[in-house]
Symmetry: C2
Subunit: 328 residues, 2 copies
């Protein structure tokens, strides 16, 4: 099950983004997203014995990578004249909702965002600051998604799924495209996994050229459990990063990509995530939310150790936290 | 009074860093400092009608540009076998002290740092975290400097001046060298001025190729006043950025460089600095201290407006703030 590098393909009814899809996404979203910078840290700098290259995707619009997928989904639909007059609707733990709200404002569309009760107040404010109608409902993302679908049946708005749509994956895959252009020497890239749209898109881009390592909280092990089971399975949702990484199960589209191209799927404790947030502030003056610090936590905690000669990259993917919760 | 681009020269007893000096500094400090990234923001992104290229020097070690000058000063002295057994001593509003402490730890030297009473607690903690002996004395930087010099007379340690030393200016000038390499299209670069080591080094590098715009708080107008008087003069020290930009007067070495190559020297109100801090957090998820946000404040407040066709860069130079004071 090896996708070609030049065209998308369909397996068991699932369309996998190709490199061409991701190139097209990059061109489509270029006017709307930031090319986020890369920062090279020296051996020892982060308390590790090797250098680490960070992609600072937390400096993206709306504070996370999510606008890449949101813009690609919406703009691709607009190209096909499939955007309804009712605008767009999304369910989210917070970051995707902020991104969809940001994109809708930029494109002049109506937007409703459904978030669960676990979404922190800072993310409510972020979503509303972009002019979206915010609805808080359900305990977790999965319940907010159900509520958003009931609403969509009434309004006819287009769903912008947080991860399980080919255009969303292709948009998130542009992160890897940029990272590879700026840091072509990397042999391994660590990425936090929630529903898997980001790592799915990135792994589709890298296509095995780079070892893509999934990092999840122990309390949100959806990809870890899915790879063990051989298919997506319901998993617990909890812990400090549940608002950004708390999908009940990984997407159907990302799963075959992960099965083919994710080289390891490791888990980190909440304490390790908090420690990574503190270190990012102390050493680099970056405010990362728990989900944004999760990938780095795998290195700091030893949950994943690079093989000899590896050149390691880490995606720092989100910053929508109250800094008071980060700075000790 | 035009320095050649290839060698330093001496005017009225003052040695001006040349491009060669700055190239040598860059090579000397390369193992010890970060190449900080550049972030391009689109027109409208920061509420301005034009794009702005930011150099994120606030992600430097110890949270500001200061390690560049500190390492160059100390390493140049070590090359000449001029480093005393007593180590190094410095006076500082905080950022330079943190940088000297960081450099001394990296190089295995003893270090004492003198800070005035206006230095905020976050900077005390930063300096002590690097293992320095911290002395709090005097109302402003100038008084802390006097106290450090009395102490130096007892110990024989080497002074690492916060700005008025050729090796410090050459080190800070490496910021412009990197900025020009990463953003060669810029026609104007805005830089905050305190004692003037940073803007002096940067203006020495650019040498008139780029318009270097000085930005100071209304409450700390040392370069503005010096250029008006035709020589460094004592100026008020106050306001929200006094800990990082509160030199009583600009350095003797930077002044002729500024007179030749600083194309404008503008002032911004404290409220504009606070607004720039808030915007950097809201739009870019960056925590800048007041002095770090001062250069951007000139654009946001309209204190400086780019001419038609300008390509504008801003140095974001420091982040040693308690985020609770930044995030509204």
């Amino acid at each position: 099950m090896t996708p070609t590098r030049s065209s998308s393909y369909t397996s068991a009814g699932v369309t996998i983004p190709s490199a061409s899809d991701i190139n097209a996404a990059a061109a489509r979203i270029a006017p709307h997203v930031r090319q986020t910078p890369v920062l090279c840290t020296a051996a020892g700098d982060l308390g590790l014995g090797y250098p680490v290259t960070l992609k600072l995707e937390l400096l993206q619009h709306a504070g996370s990578f999510k606008p890449r997928g949101a813009f690609n989904r919406i703009l691709a639909a607009r190209e096909l004249e499939e955007l309804p007059a009712a605008g767009v609707i999304a369910a989210s733990g917070g970051n995707h909702g902020a991104a969809v709200a940001y994109a809708a404002r930029a494109l002049g569309l109506g937007v409703e965002i459904f978030v669960p009760e676990l979404t922190p107040p800072a993310k409510h404010a972020r979503i509303e600051s972009f002019g979206a109608r915010l609805v808080r409902t359900g305990a977790t993302y999965a319940e907010a998604l159900d509520a958003s679908r009931a609403r969509r049946a009434e309004t006819g708005a287009m769903e912008v799924h947080a991860y399980d749509h080919p255009a969303v994956l292709a948009g998130q895959g542009t992160t890897a495209r940029e990272f590879e252009a700026d840091a072509p020497e990397l042999t391994h890239v660590l990425v936090a996994t929630g529903g898997g749209g980001l790592i799915g898109g990135m792994a589709a881009w890298y296509g095995g050229r780079v070892g893509v390592v999934s990092v999840e909280p122990v309390a949100c092990p959806a990809l870890h459990d899915a790879l063990a089971a051989g298919h997506p399975v319901p998993s617990p949702v909890g812990g400090v990063a549940a608002d950004s990484l708390g999908a009940r199960e990984v997407g159907k589209i990302m799963f075959p990509i992960a099965a083919a191209y994710v080289s390891a799927a490791v888990l980190v404790a909440d304490d390790a995530i908090r420690a990574a947030q503190c270190l990012l502030w102390d050493r680099l003056r970056l405010i990362a939310e728990p989900g944004g610090a999760t990938a780095l936590a795998a290195l700091l905690s030893g949950a994943w150790t690079p093989p000899d000669g590896a050149r390691v990259g880490v995606l720092v993917c989100g910053s929508n936290a109250d800094p008071a919760t980060v700075v000790s």
